[in-house]
């Protein structure tokens, strides 16, 4: 008959070692995770009152004047941002991917920069891995962000084809998340039906 001999002390030692390793590994991961910036979410909250998006005209980075009224009939993602705002920078590539996907279906992205000049914005765009192809406007004195009661950067609104604010997000988002894509597809479809 086969016999097995297990040394109890050695087993205890092994278990203690494993336990300590696990705890240290866990603590290491905890500290690593907590040093990370907050995750970008993917929720956009419905704006119950759906107010009409107030009109504005601002220059883009080439100095050309751009009016939001000219976009009536399109689904607009209106984003308020600045280059010194880390979540604004983090969400920008996903905004570009979203724009690329839906731009031919009546979707536009308008990114309104706060307080910065053309040179700063140009320099910032040059540093991005994925250069934005959507419109970037300059709100040098933050008058438009005040019109829209923007409390913090980034803040993003989704405006429907009737020019009404339908969704809002405060803080960075992963805009090409399926949940947000679904919202946009619904807005594109819904308004198309009433056209």
């Amino acid at each position: 008959m086969k016999k097995y001999y297990l040394n109890f002390s050695a087993l205890k030692l092994q278990l203690t070692k494993t336990a300590l390793t696990s705890v240290f590994l866990g603590m290491f991961l905890v500290s690593a995770v907590s040093a990370e910036p907050p995750p970008l979410g993917h929720k956009m909250s419905p704006v119950k009152t759906t107010p009409v998006a107030s009109s504005f005209t601002l220059p883009d980075i080439d100095g050309k004047l751009y009016s939001i009224n000219d976009l009536r009939g399109k689904v607009i993602m209106l984003n308020f941002w600045a280059s010194w705002c880390p979540p604004c920078v983090r969400e920008m590539p996903s905004m570009e991917r979203l724009y690329t996907k839906y731009k031919d279906k009546g979707f536009v992205v308008v990114a309104v920069n706060q307080w910065e000049d053309e040179d700063t914005v140009f320099e910032f765009i040059g540093r991005l891995d994925l250069e934005p192809t959507f419109s970037i406007l300059l709100d040098r004195e933050s008058r438009v962000s005040e019109q829209y009661s923007v409390k913090g950067l980034p803040t993003t609104y989704l405006i429907n084809k009737e020019g009404k604010i339908q969704y809002r997000a405060m803080g960075g988002r992963e805009f090409d998340h399926p949940e947000i894509k679904r919202l946009i597809e619904d807005m594109l479809k819904k308004n198309s039906a009433s056209d």
């Binding site: 001999y5 109890f8 494993t18 336990a19 696990s22 500290s31 907050p38 929720k43």
Partner: protein, 211 residues
């Protein structure tokens, strides 16, 4: 074949072929439990304040989450404020008014399933002598800047926002205390009308730069 286990404590040995079958799964389960516990440490520590020091620059952060709110505070060095404000073209009076204070970069997140509200005017910082002090709000800063002809309205933490589910924000919280001071911060917020508060103790303001 015996179907029992013989344990000889005096020799500190286990004998019997069933022990192998018993001990190995036990060992595996123990290790798994310990790993799950250690990896999900934050879930067990909802009331714990995590303090970290960046080994590269010595900057300390404090983070806590509970009752639907997550907050992270980060020491802000006065030179960082000077550089940030100067690069935005802000006048020295504006820059120095903020840079000479104790400033924490503050990130607030709504981690509940309902709208969350807070007002910085309800928050207090508590100095070591026990005095509760108000925090200068964004509205007060912006009013002061406007009086100087400056329309800048960013960088300071929004003072009375409503966060929908998943919303978050970041900005400076400024306390009228010297650099290097110790203080506690009382944070107050509401979810569905219910008031919550949390004291984050033993925060340390960033040190003044060495001339």
């Amino acid at each position: 074949m015996p179907n029992y286990v013989y344990i000889d404590y005096a020799k500190n040995e286990y004998k019997g072929e069933y022990m192998q079958k018993l001990i190995l799964p036990l060992w595996t389960v123990t290790v798994l439990i310990l790993m799950i516990f250690s990896l999900s440490y934050p879930a067990f520590a909802t009331n714990k304040i995590l303090v970290n020091t960046n080994p590269n620059n010595g900057v300390k952060t404090w983070s806590w989450e509970g009752n639907g709110l997550a907050i992270e505070l980060l020491q802000v060095n006065p030179d960082f404020i000077r550089a940030t404000y100067a690069s935005r073209g802000l006048p020295k009076t504006v820059t120095e008014a903020v840079a000479t204070r104790c400033v924490f970069g503050t990130i607030i997140r709504n981690i509940s399933d309902n709208p969350l509200k807070y007002k910085v005017s309800d928050w207090r910082y508590i100095t070591p002598d026990g005095t509760e002090n108000k925090i200068k709000t964004k509205t007060e800063w912006v009013k002061e800047w406007r009086a100087m002809g400056v329309r800048f309205s960013w960088s300071i933490l929004a003072d009375d926002p409503t966060f929908e589910v998943g919303d978050w924000i970041q900005g400076f919280t400024t306390m009228a205390e010297p650099h290097g001071s110790d203080l506690d911060l009382k944070v107050v917020w509401k979810i569905e009308g219910k008031r919550y508060e949390k004291i984050l103790p033993e925060l340390q303001c960033a040190q003044a730069p060495i001339d």
